[in-house]
């Protein structure tokens, strides 16, 4: 009973994500409208059979925009995440493997420094520095995002270094490269990936928030954050504009969080006494 219940969130998350992926990937077939084409005559229409999510101020079909926006939002969040993940893992592994070396100290100092910066401020300044575009926003997100992963990877590696299997591999003659790739990386990977699923959720929110502040995707690219910002202007009159992107942001973050929860339960199953 215990184990079956535990995976409910994983299953629910996967199913939800799959559903979203199908919807988003099939945007062309689900909604026949061009997400960018403007129709002044059909602006601000309430949801109807023709436009299930209604239309925005330019008469663009919101369902089409939401679905196409999903491609952009999710892909860019994933791209930023993979960037941060790759850097974070590499730095974390290196720092953990060569614990207390100059390299490690240097990395740790960098991490400390970056952690001391308020995320939003750094992201905003970096975005302003390079100019506003989704690509630059992603760079900014990566620039601050890798730190979390590096820290986690390093702590896992430090723990793994004390394990018998690490000592065993060293005694058996494994080189540093082998040790990192075969012994440490697989151990660091699963907790880091679990963190990543949660991070992906908050990343979607962060990108949305930064887009909301006008630092993200440029028009007419549909992106959930900027769609929300657009819809906000009509919040009383046509709240349906915000409905689509808000719903999809919620659902996708929910999906990733559920998967994260499920994965974590699986990775470290808890055994608590009956109280």
């Amino acid at each position: 009973m215990h184990s079956t219940r535990r995976s409910v969130s994983l299953i629910a998350g996967t199913v939800l994500l799959g559903l979203l992926a199908v919807l988003i990937a099939g945007a062309h077939w689900i909604s026949p409208y061009d997400p960018v084409q403007q129709h002044a005559a059909e602006r601000l229409e309430k949801p109807s059979a023709q436009h299930p999510f209604g239309t925005d101020r330019f008469g663009r079909d919101l369902l089409a925009r939401t679905l196409h926006g999903g491609q952009i939002t999710l892909l860019s969040a994933m791209a930023a995440l993979s960037g941060a993940l790759a850097i974070g893992l590499a730095v974390g592994l290196a720092a953990g493997m060569f614990h207390n070396s100059l390299l490690d100290r240097l990395f740790m100092r960098m991490i400390d420094v970056l952690l001391a910066f308020p995320f939003m401020v750094l992201a905003m300044v970096v975005a302003a520095l390079f100019g506003t575009s989704l690509f630059h926003l992603l760079l900014a997100v990566i620039a601050v995002g890798w730190v979390t992963f590096a820290r986690l990877a390093r702590s896992v590696v430090l723990q793994a270094r004390n394990e018998t299997s690490f000592a065993a591999a060293r005694v058996l003659g494994a080189s540093n490269r082998t040790l990192i790739l075969r012994e440490l990386a697989p151990k660091a990977l699963s907790p880091v990936l679990i963190l990543a699923t949660f991070e992906l959720g908050s990343l979607i929110l962060s990108i949305a928030a930064l887009s909301f502040l006008g630092l993200g995707a440029q028009p007419p690219t549909p992106e959930w954050g900027s769609m929300l910002a657009d819809g906000r202007e009509y919040v009383l009159q046509s709240p349906h504009i915000m409905f689509g992107p808000a719903l999809f942001i919620m659902l996708s973050v929910l999906a990733f969080n559920l998967i994260g929860e499920g994965l974590r339960d699986r990775l470290d199953p808890y055994e608590k006494p009956q109280l």
Binding site: T164, S165, A168, Q274
Partner: protein
């Protein structure tokens, strides 16, 4: 001797199973058990036999994944409980039973204490929660108890934290805390397995003393035949969740009825049989020499100081010492896992201490190591074949076919054959894992094999098998062995020479194991006495 006195705890028809991945795995099959007032009963069994589950079941501490099929518990005070009811419903008044009726001791005493609470707080909380004392009496009660348990300065102890104390001290404190509620029955679940011989002896004699002093009834759960023989009045032997034999300690040890008990005793005598070793040829060359080795992580607390030792070709040398004496660190230094602060390690005359990179890896061909926890040293996701091939890959020995052939050969040598070669550690037994670890070490044809407590955590049966295997391989492949252990009997039966380590150094050179008892060193004598007490003397 207490057979006539009244039954103080009766367990009937206890059936427990664990749920895992949809199927239930039965652990206990309708066990019956009766304890009488004032006796010490030993529950003897191998790991996995269900003895700890019994202890948890009768104190209501089973994890949620365990299910009690049936079973009843009756205590002297007229308390009768249906254990099958206990599935989180809270219908059983455990708070009245635990602590005051039944007290429990755990294997790892340090883990059983809250790490951020002082010892005094533990006493206070326990006493006050049961209303056994008024707040102002707590200190005097706990001091009295601690003094009784041999602590001469209880006040210092009350303000210390668990992490500041040794494992043996923690176990004694757990005992004191358990006793402060004056329980009728004390259940001790492997209370000494995590301790070295000296502490083991201390804790056991304390339990015995308290039992006699307070008229306590003790249920001692252990896998160690020596412990069972040393302290119990009555022995119950458990095999795979079934009670196979019970009777007075003398009877069970002298005339075992069940086949299982007979086997256990036979293995034990194998393991601790006095050495029948030919002494090594005087002419054999010195293979490995450790010269004045010094290692510390913290300048104030050196782990190894000024340790010197030699290992000749084909020789088996045992390093004996209490836990924390620095013997494992010494082994890790020799294996190249640690860099010593001072001193040298000579392998055939060449200093190999503190080598890095490629040079260190070359030494790996010549010095290999087997660890205490074999399962932890193996990657859970790889098959036995792959695991044995690993060192060959690391050191780029042979091509793929050759590696497979070599691995198969050595796996066969250690007794892993056929389909078992393609299983992964989680599907293999602890003994098999240790065999794979040995095969993995030997596949590089090392000159020195270091065994760091390689058999300490194993059941006696597996212990005997592994030792036998090592002996055979030693004879066949003619490597030298450095055997690290805290267990005198194992070392005495296995090694040519034994060096005793304490406080990071060897008090004297290695002694022929047969003449160890002639040593004049007081520490050696203490170790021997404690071990000997357990072997032969009843506490």
């Amino acid at each position: 001797m207490h057979a006539a006195s009244e039954a103080i705890l009766i367990v009937e028809q206890l059936q427990v199973s664990y749920r895992s991945k949809e199927q239930a795995r039965p652990i206990l099959h309708g066990l019956n058990l009766t304890l009488h007032q004032g006796e010490t009963v030993c529950l003897l069994g191998e790991s996995g036999s269900g003895k700890s589950t019994l202890a948890k079941a009768i104190t209501g501490l089973l994890p949620p994944s365990a299910q009690v099929g049936s079973g009843s518990l009756a205590l002297a005070g007229g308390i009768a409980v249906d254990l099958a009811d206990d599935n989180g419903s809270g219908s059983i008044p455990w708070q009245r039973i635990r602590g005051t009726e039944l007290a429990l001791l755990f294997q790892d005493a340090r883990q059983a204490l809250n790490p951020v609470m002082t010892i005094g707080q533990h006493f206070k909380e326990t006493l006050l929660d049961h209303r056994k004392a008024k707040p102002d009496e707590v200190e005097s009660i706990s001091c009295r108890l601690l003094r009784k348990l041999g602590f001469t300065d209880p006040l210092v102890l009350l303000s210390s934290y668990p992490f500041q104390l040794s494992g043996g001290m923690c176990q004694r404190i757990c005992l004191a805390i358990a006793l402060c509620l004056e329980p009728k029955v004390l259940i001790a679940d492997e209370p000494t397995s995590a301790l070295d011989t000296v502490s083991q002896r201390e804790v056991l004699s304390l339990i015995r003393a308290m039992q006699l002093d307070l008229g306590l009834t003790v249920l001692l759960i252990t896998h160690d035949l020596a412990v069972a023989r040393a302290v119990s009045d009555r022995v119950i032997v458990l095999d795979q969740g079934r009670l196979v034999e019970q009777g007075s300690v003398q009877r069970v040890f002298s005339q075992p009825k069940a086949l299982f008990t007979r086997q256990l005793l036979a293995y034990r005598s194998q393991v601790s049989a006095p050495a029948k070793l030919r002494s090594t040829r005087k002419s054999s060359a010195c293979l490995l020499e450790v010269r004045r080795l010094h290692k510390s992580y913290d300048a104030n607390q050196p782990i190894v100081r000024d340790a010197s030792l030699t290992l000749d070709e084909q020789e088996i040398v045992g390093v004996l010492g209490q836990s924390g004496c620095g013997k494992s660190t010494l082994a890790r230094c020799i294996a190249g896992l640690e860099t010593p602060n001072a001193g040298s390690i000579l392998l055939r005359g060449t200093d190999i201490s503190g080598l890095q990179g490629k040079a260190r890896r070359e030494i790996c061909r010549r010095i290999q190591m087997v660890f205490q926890d074999a399962r932890a040293s193996l990657h859970p996701g790889r098959t036995a074949q792959q695991l044995v091939q690993e060192p060959l890959q690391y050191l780029r020995i042979g091509n793929k076919q050759e590696r497979i052939a070599l691995a198969s050969h050595y796996l066969q040598e250690v007794g892993i054959e056929g389909e078992a070669q393609y299983r992964k550690p989680p599907q293999l037994s602890t003994g098999q894992c240790q065999r794979i670890a040995i095969a993995r070490a030997l596949v590089l044809k090392p000159e020195v094999l270091i065994c760091d407590e390689a058999v300490s955590a194993l059941d006696v049966r597996i212990q005997a098998q592994i030792l036998k295997l090592l002996k055979r391989l030693h004879k066949q492949y003619r490597f030298s062995i450095l055997m690290i252990s805290h267990d005198v009997s194992v070392l005495r039966s296995f090694c040519h020479h034994i060096a005793v380590m304490s406080d990071g150094r060897f008090q004297e050179g290695k002694q022929a194991s047969v003449r160890l008892h002639e040593s004049s060193q007081p520490h050696t004598q203490l170790l021997l006495r404690c071990a000997g007490d357990l072997e032969e003397v009843r506490i």
